[in-house]
Subunit: 546 residues, 2 copies
Amino acid sequence: MAKFLIVGGVAGGATTAARLRRMDESAEIIMFERGEHISYANCGLPYYVGDVITERENLLLQTPESFKKRLNVDVRIKNEVVRIDRENKLVEINDLINNTSYTETFDKLIVSPGAEPIKPPIPGIKDQAIFTVRNVHDTDKIKTYINENKPKKAVVVGAGFIGLEMAENLHHLGMMVTIIEMAEQVMTPLDYEMAAVVHQHLKVKNVEFYLNDGVSQFKRETDHLEIQLQSGRKVDADMVILSIGVKPETKLIKDAGIELAPNGGIKVNEYLQTSDPNIYALGDAMAFPHPITGKYTNAYLAGPANKQARILANNLVLGHKQTYKGAIATAIAKVFDLTIGSTGLAEKVLKKEGISYVSNIIHSGSHSGYYPGAMPTTIKITFDPKTGKLYGAQIIGYLGVDKRIDLIATVLQKGGTIYDLQEIEHAYAPPYSSAKDPVNQAGFTAGNIIEGLVNIIHWDELLQSHAASNFILDVRTPEEFELGQIEDAVNIELDEIRNHLDEIPRDKKIIIYCGVGLRGYFAARILMQKGFTDVCNLSGGYKTYE
Amino acid sequence: MAKFLIVGGVAGGATTAARLRRMDESAEIIMFERGEHISYANCGLPYYVGDVITERENLLLQTPESFKKRLNVDVRIKNEVVRIDRENKLVEINDLINNTSYTETFDKLIVSPGAEPIKPPIPGIKDQAIFTVRNVHDTDKIKTYINENKPKKAVVVGAGFIGLEMAENLHHLGMMVTIIEMAEQVMTPLDYEMAAVVHQHLKVKNVEFYLNDGVSQFKRETDHLEIQLQSGRKVDADMVILSIGVKPETKLIKDAGIELAPNGGIKVNEYLQTSDPNIYALGDAMAFPHPITGKYTNAYLAGPANKQARILANNLVLGHKQTYKGAIATAIAKVFDLTIGSTGLAEKVLKKEGISYVSNIIHSGSHSGYYPGAMPTTIKITFDPKTGKLYGAQIIGYLGVDKRIDLIATVLQKGGTIYDLQEIEHAYAPPYSSAKDPVNQAGFTAGNIIEGLVNIIHWDELLQSHAASNFILDVRTPEEFELGQIEDAVNIELDEIRNHLDEIPRDKKIIIYCGVGLRGYFAARILMQKGFTDVCNLSGGYKTYE
Ligand SMILES: Cc1cc2nc3c(=O)[nH]c(=O)nc-3n(C[C@H](O)[C@H](O)[C@H](O)COP(=O)(O)OP(=O)(O)OC[C@H]3O[C@@H](n4cnc5c(N)ncnc54)[C@H](O)[C@@H]3O)c2cc1C
Ligand SMILES: Cc1cc2nc3c(=O)[nH]c(=O)nc-3n(C[C@H](O)[C@H](O)[C@H](O)COP(=O)(O)OP(=O)(O)OC[C@H]3O[C@@H](n4cnc5c(N)ncnc54)[C@H](O)[C@@H]3O)c2cc1C
Ligand SMILES: CC(C)(COP(=O)(O)OP(=O)(O)OC[C@H]1O[C@@H](n2cnc3c(N)ncnc32)[C@H](O)[C@@H]1OP(=O)(O)O)[C@@H](O)C(=O)NCCC(=O)NCCS
Ligand SMILES: CC(C)(COP(=O)(O)OP(=O)(O)OC[C@H]1O[C@@H](n2cnc3c(N)ncnc32)[C@H](O)[C@@H]1OP(=O)(O)O)[C@@H](O)C(=O)NCCC(=O)NCCS
Ligand SMILES: [Ca+2]
Ligand SMILES: [Ca+2]
């Protein structure tokens, strides 16, 4: 009878325990959780704070009792594993209820301790009105604070997914919310021009934000906190959420002399086995080679943790048969009315990694324009300029973002190309898509770039390039042109262009743009075939440029 | 300068013309359309009838004028191509405006004539209150009839996608709607138990339907039609929509001696070239080997037609470089509040084709149960019992059906397996999915079946199998059991099963069921590992059985 010990009782740990039991009815399985709860919905926590999820018990998918009953797993909450003795294959546990300590032996040890919110040593950071959000206990504290103090003004430090979800939920409770972010943009997985759409939306929603700025001090005043920023700016707050990132819980593993990856996560092989063959790791704390860069990275996502768990349990019971292939970091967040999805590598990462790439942006409708309710959707993809191999995608919109990021992720995960995007046979009826889905269109436009049917220029390149040597051609209608245009642009409407070729200089670089890129592409095709040699189309059109 | 003639000016034809022009600015392109309109949104027609799409002009994506202006294509509406002279590479055209006839030569001829609604020779079928829905003209007639006659009672004959869309839209206008369908179910691409969900929904929506019944006569009474059914039943109607299927428009091609496929469609090779190397075909009229069965089939779908068009245009300009790979028939329809998606081969088709398969049904939520608004979703997949290669999927639900059918279609299209479904790294946040998406769960459950971790039984097999040799075990809670159960079932709740093993006979076949299949699977795992040798779990649980 095999004896499995599991450290951590939530996404990675509990899911491993569940599959282990289904695979092996007779194994001894003990799951240690240092907190009070197991199997809770981490991802639901912001919504519980915001009263979108109203029942606390709905967050608790399993309890120690239900886990025992249904899965016959020995769950020990408020039990912290504090030391691994690899030689004797045992762990030392602090029983936080009885303040005692004991040991437990194992055949195999599974470690899924997660990651903890980063709390830098900023003066005043220990104030009782400053919170992090990791577990049910944290949200209990936040909710109690809100109920007792009725805060009116909240500051969220750090504008990642969790920070923005918290901002939305505090706003939903009626608070005035200010976000403070060190980077030049919210949401690191996005490139700047995509994040800009989120910035715009936050403004519309009356959420204040300061970018390129960090906290230098939290100063307690009688009834509020004064937050002093590195820029010198001061912001008042009744409460603060710190969401500036997480770091993997690796102390236990490190102390046991088990190998860490260069990025600081717990290094595992494709069977999720650490450098000690009897110890396995998964979840947020674990580092695995990224499928594209090959560099060890942590995923910090619930989906991968859950899937790793099943693979791990299979391998523990059946032997090393199923390999884990790594996460491409497919993520999504609702930010007010927007949905923001991303997968794979952003342009800025590709740049940093020195991987040669092309990126392109398209704007489409979430479904056929003639059927009511279609909403704008922006898709940016990055890909190999020669083979078309997909590197990443970012999608922002209101409807159907989830489906499109899933589709691209599925192709990307299999090493697919933009040609695979062209071929996707999606389900089409007017309420759901168009005969060519935006994902197909992303593939078509990318194909045109690779095959040299069109050259593109990006908004930032256009901003940098020198105007005198360029002829900037706006192919929108005169009405659209009137409403706003790029400096020095000349307007010749697409439908008239064949009759006005002599008004376009042959000795200049022709930079064409339209609203979103489509008409510009059509115009570029005409000019390129009419002997204009240096023609390019603005990726994403005026909409992205603006 | 190449000269291309195109027959048909809508999905296949117009899209080919557009891409041809972008690929070759100097080609001569003439597009013939026998009707009054080009580039119209066929798929939007039912919604235009139902006043969901309110502007007629929104259906007309392009006009002959705009096509000329933007794409420099010579569009000739009300011009019907009536004969192909292959030897002289010319076609004969009837100009329906001037009632004249003329010829036009070609280098390449592209044929996308579509398919026409079937109108069997039923007595009375020519009545002016009986309509088919193919083009804008048809819906103009329907709308005029509705405006002038204010029909109260409509009958829809044929319950395919278009029939059901029409039923919903006429119902939306306030009519009492009755559907008549020859088959035992609505929506042929679905298997019976999935269609049953639609039947249920139609009842809820107060749409009457008669299955297993056909029309024997339409009898004109003074102010209405009496529809006599083969069963002897009579149904009155103020108007009738005939939507019993379509047949490809192949006369032109057949008369020219060009090869048809065994199924009657226009046979093409992977370059979409007919048996005449100068003539190409695409769209509804074209037949191509099905990627799984290898049999020639027509797609009758706008997505494939649009994608074929682009491939075809590429091959015409660049030479035969890009191959078409066939359609797996991914389709979707909104039927009132339900969304119904399907892709690949249904169980009944696999049975008929003699392909060995397994099918499985799961019920999940559209997103995490703890986040508000999650809706039930039912997924049925069919797959190879050994390799797990995917054959088909059917999904019914209220939210996110489109995304999940697209995901499975994308995997299926590439020859993927249920193991690929397990690995899909979807985007997860509570409003969009669960940490394990229902599509992952479909893969997990299928994997468990293939690997012999569980045996399943289907509702129809259970109905047929002899009760005395079976022990039917209901593992739901006593409360659920009280509300309804399968005959002769014994209730032992899952969480208690380990303590009641001695109440379960070892000499009988144990058929376990629960609500949806999940707890039944857990119970099966326990029993199988406790020495029970003949154990199976009811696929889809009581929900599907019921
Ligand atoms: C607020 C929030 C929102 C999120 N939203 C999303 C989302 O929308 N989508 C998404 O994909 N992901 C989301 N995540 C991330 C997701 O929850 C994690 O990726 C996932 O839970 C990681 O699983 P894990 O098992 O590694 O860690 P956890 O689920 O955090 O579990 C680790 C557990 O181990 C316990 N533990 C640690 N050390 C010990 C020890 N020595 N002894 C005993 N117990 C120990 C900890 O107390 C903890 O309960 C969110 C996370 C948070 C905090
Ligand atoms: C009501 C309705 C709803 C639909 N809904 C959906 C949906 O939701 N999703 C989906 O994927 N598909 C749907 N379809 C199917 C989709 O519209 C077709 O698959 C697609 O239009 C086929 O393209 P095609 O070019 O082959 O034929 P069509 O688009 O029908 O175009 C063929 C054209 O050729 C013309 N023509 C034929 N013969 C000649 C000739 N000899 N000379 C000149 N012109 C000729 C015809 O007049 C016709 O206009 C729907 C169809 C209908 C009718
Ligand atoms: C609650 C928890 C223990 C459940 O783990 P689990 O039992 O493995 O997962 P699920 O409830 O999704 O069930 C999946 C199992 O049911 C099976 N299943 C699902 N639907 C089924 C159906 N209709 N019929 C039969 N089996 C079904 C799957 O095959 C799978 O079993 P397998 O792994 O043995 O193949 C675990 O997910 C957990 O702790 N979650 C909370 C923490 C967390 O994930 N947080 C991050 C997200 S907020
Ligand atoms: C209207 C119609 C002629 C348009 O054909 P089309 O121009 O090929 O199709 P789209 O309007 O989708 O445009 C697609 C082109 O724009 C390009 N494109 C799309 N978005 C772009 C963007 N943001 N920037 C640059 N190019 C873009 C695509 O790459 C593609 O060009 P390509 O094929 O040369 O690569 C044709 O689709 C039609 O007749 N439709 C109605 C009939 C029909 O389909 N009915 C069934 C469905 S209801
Ligand atoms: Ca750039
Ligand atoms: Ca069956």
